[in-house]
């Protein structure tokens, strides 16, 4: 991470940990927004020009694809946040 972290204040460590968590959450929420509000609503007409196994792609995102991505997002968060917590010594397992 950053070179002066060894002599940093404990309160700064809490801030650093929190900032990394927020960064991770924001990144995942961008995907969350993109598959549902983006692919399923805003750009549905353009995506519907493409077919995915007999289903128009925009319609597929709105009714099935977004749900599958949501499941993946949660488990990615569970895994990634665990790594961050371990680095800061605040993990609970």
């Amino acid at each position: 991470m950053d070179h002066k972290s060894d002599k940093s204040e404990p309160a700064d460590n809490l801030k650093l940990y929190w900032r990394e968590n927020i960064k991770l959450v924001c990144g995942l929420l961008v995907i969350w927004f993109a598959v549902s509000f983006g692919a399923g609503i805003l750009f549905v007409d353009i995506l519907n020009k493409v077919q995915l196994g007999g289903v128009p792609l925009g319609f597929w995102f709105a009714q099935q694809g977004s749900i599958l991505v949501f499941v993946v997002l949660i488990f990615v968060y569970v895994g990634r946040v665990h790594v961050i917590e371990k680095r800061f010594g605040v993990n609970d397992e």
Partner: protein
């Protein structure tokens, strides 16, 4: 359907529903609560997978089980708001709320709001929001129970509701959260099995593909057109919008989806489930498992909806009424299908537009073909038949000609879905009264034993109110339920979210935000939905073209804006509360000074 086949279905339904009730009661006796911790949060030691299943059952109500596929069948793409909205909220729960609320680790949602905003007023405002949300939601469940009982057990709706309430009374009052949790695990198994069995059967019959999710895009048996393409074609021919295209505005779709997602994350009976797992990491994982279990039903629903609509068109359009399948007449018998032979040819014509004005008003006399005559004024549309969307899932096995035991199984599944959600809602209502209002606000001196007694008493009282709402139910199941989400989105979610992520948010800001959010949203809904204002409920009259179902998204923005504004001009959050927020942000109980630098 012959008379003996009908008897068969009914006997089987009694057996299935009766067996599932015996199972729930058995579990309740085995897992009854002995302390307030067990009554409110099941002692906090539920395994994350079990909690995921319980959350899924808690969450998937009569609206998900009975109504959703019917809504998809009749509104196609427009129904995507429910599919995305009711699942996307779990991402918000897992990433933004569940782990921190678990770390905070008390019993109820108002507990968090009361402590974080160091204020009894905030706690009481949260309790009021919670009660409004939960009763709106529970009203939707009871109609579901009533429909199942009246159709399959041929009991009057009132008796259906009373039997259902009796069962919930028994295991919610006795078992508390502990009883509910393990009953919900069983209910999840019943409802998912009941949902998937007919879906798989119908998918095989229609496409030869046993996976309904894939059947949606597969070719119809004996043709080279996919189910969706066939359905689009059939609907356009009949004058409807194509199944894969919508008629709602993009802005309204956006607002409804957002209100449902945020509302899901703000529903007290869902949040409280994450208080029951042992650790913070378990809370996150548990939200993931819950969504897996929910996704199993939610990704099947679009297929069920599309199959049902296609089957429905084939079995009624241009069919002589006298030769129509038995289910048309049974559902007509309880008033959920109505046919008006406008051109007097004895043949059912199906198409876009309402066949007659207003809700079906049966005269009580039979027509020349044996149909129930209607007193309504016919419209100019070719369409002659109107069908209640709520029957699609329940009638689906009959429409597809599946054996009676599948029909009975679906009935047991519908009851499981409605009862599990009703029980979860009753529990948060009772906990907010006995714990937040009595113990934490008005009578702090009461002993644990008295608090537990008060919890059981208020659960019993809440059941009576819910029963009344069940016998005098308002509107469509899913419609009423959808409004509860808007109310949760505009009140509880912003208060909890800001409590975790913005230390600067203070008591005054949070209280003003919740009050402004719920008053704005509730007034908008009541103005357009309640009959006494006579307001035209259509896009031309709505604010920015946003429907009452989606207004919670605007209410949430109102909450955030008012809260931020008021917090600017009032006293800062006290240092002790800032430390508490720091503490809930880390999963363990290590002191801030022990946090490592995080260097690689």
């Amino acid at each position: 359907m012959t008379n003996s086949a009908a008897m068969d279905t009914q006997t089987l339904t009694y057996i299935f529903v009766g067996f599932s009730f015996a199972l729930y009661i058995g579990i309740a006796i085995w897992s009854r609560a002995r302390s307030t911790a067990e009554f409110y949060v099941a002692g906090g030691d539920v395994h994350p997978i079990a909690n995921g299943m319980a959350t899924a059952a808690d969450w998937m109500s009569a609206a998900s089980f009975i109504s959703m596929a019917g809504i998809i069948a009749f509104s196609g793409y427009d129904a995507s708001v429910y599919l995305m909205g009711w699942t996307g909220g779990y991402v918000l729960l897992a990433l933004l709320l569940a782990p921190y609320l678990r770390k905070f680790g008390q019993f109820t949602v108002p507990d968090f709001i009361g402590e974080r905003y160091y204020s009894k007023t905030a706690r009481v405002v949260a309790v009021i929001c919670l009660i409004i949300i939960s009763f709106t939601y529970i009203a939707g469940q009871m109609r579901g129970v009533g429909v199942v009982f009246s159709r399959f057990l041929e009991l009057p709706i009132e008796w259906g509701v009373i039997v259902g309430m009796g069962i919930v009374f028994f295991y919610a009052v006795l078992g508390g959260m502990k009883g509910i949790t393990y009953t919900q695990v069983a209910q999840y198994c019943v409802l998912i099995f009941a949902y998937l069995v007919p879906a798989v059967f119908i998918s095989i019959l229609m496409t030869g593909n046993p996976v309904p999710q894939l059947g949606l895009g597969s070719d119809v048996v004996g043709g080279d057109v996919s189910v969706l393409a066939r359905l689009d074609g059939a609907l356009v021919d009949l004058g409807f919008t194509a199944f894969t295209e919508g008629s709602k505005s993009k802005l309204d779709m956006f607002a409804i989806t957002l209100a449902l997602m945020v509302g899901t994350a703000g529903l007290p009976h869902v949040i409280v489930r994450f208080f029951t797992v042992p650790k913070v990491s378990d809370a996150r994982r548990s939200a993931g498992y819950a969504l897996v279990f929910i996704a199993l039903l939610y990704t099947t629903a679009p297929a069920v909806g599309a199959f049902a609509r296609l089957n429905f068109i084939h079995s009624v359009d241009e069919q002589p009424y006298a030769e129509a399948p038995g289910w048309v007449k049974t559902w007509e018998g309880i008033g959920l299908i109505a046919w008006m032979d406008k051109n007097d040819d004895g043949v059912i014509q199906y198409g876009a537009g309402a066949p007659f004005e207003g809700r079906a008003d049966y005269t009580g006399e039979a027509g020349t073909h044996g149909e129930r005559l209607l007193a309504n004024k016919p419209t100019g549309a070719v369409n002659e038949i109107v069908v209640d969307r709520d029957i699609m899932v329940l009638a689906n096995p009959e429409i597809a000609g599946l054996p009676p035991w599948v029909v009975a199984l679906v009935a047991a599944g519908g009851v499981a879905a409605a009862l599990s959600t009703a029980a979860g809602l009753l529990l948060v209502i009772s906990a907010s009264i006995s714990h937040d209002l009595l113990k934490k606000t008005f009578r702090p001196q009461i002993s644990e034993r008295v608090e537990l007694l008060a919890a059981r008493g208020s659960a019993a009282a809440a059941i009576v109110v819910a029963g009344y709402l069940g016998i005098n139910p308002p509107g469509f199941v899913a419609q009423v339920v959808a409004l509860a989400f808007g109310l949760a989105a505009c009140s509880l979610f912003p208060a909890i979210f800001m409590g975790i992520f913005f230390k600067a948010m203070n008591r005054e800001g949070a209280v003003a935000g919740m009050v402004a959010g719920i008053i704005f949203t509730l007034s908008y809904i009541v103005y357009f939905k309640a009959p006494w204002f006579g307001a035209a409920n259509d896009a031309d009259h709505w604010l920015f073209g946003i429907s009452p179902e989606g207004i919670g998204a605007v209410g949430m923005a109102v909450n955030f804006a008012v809260a931020a504004g008021v917090a600017q001009f009032t006293a800062k959050t006290p240092p002790g509360v800032r430390d508490m927020v720091d503490a809930i942000r880390i999963p363990t109980s290590v002191a801030v000074s022990e946090i490592k630098s995080g260097a690689h």
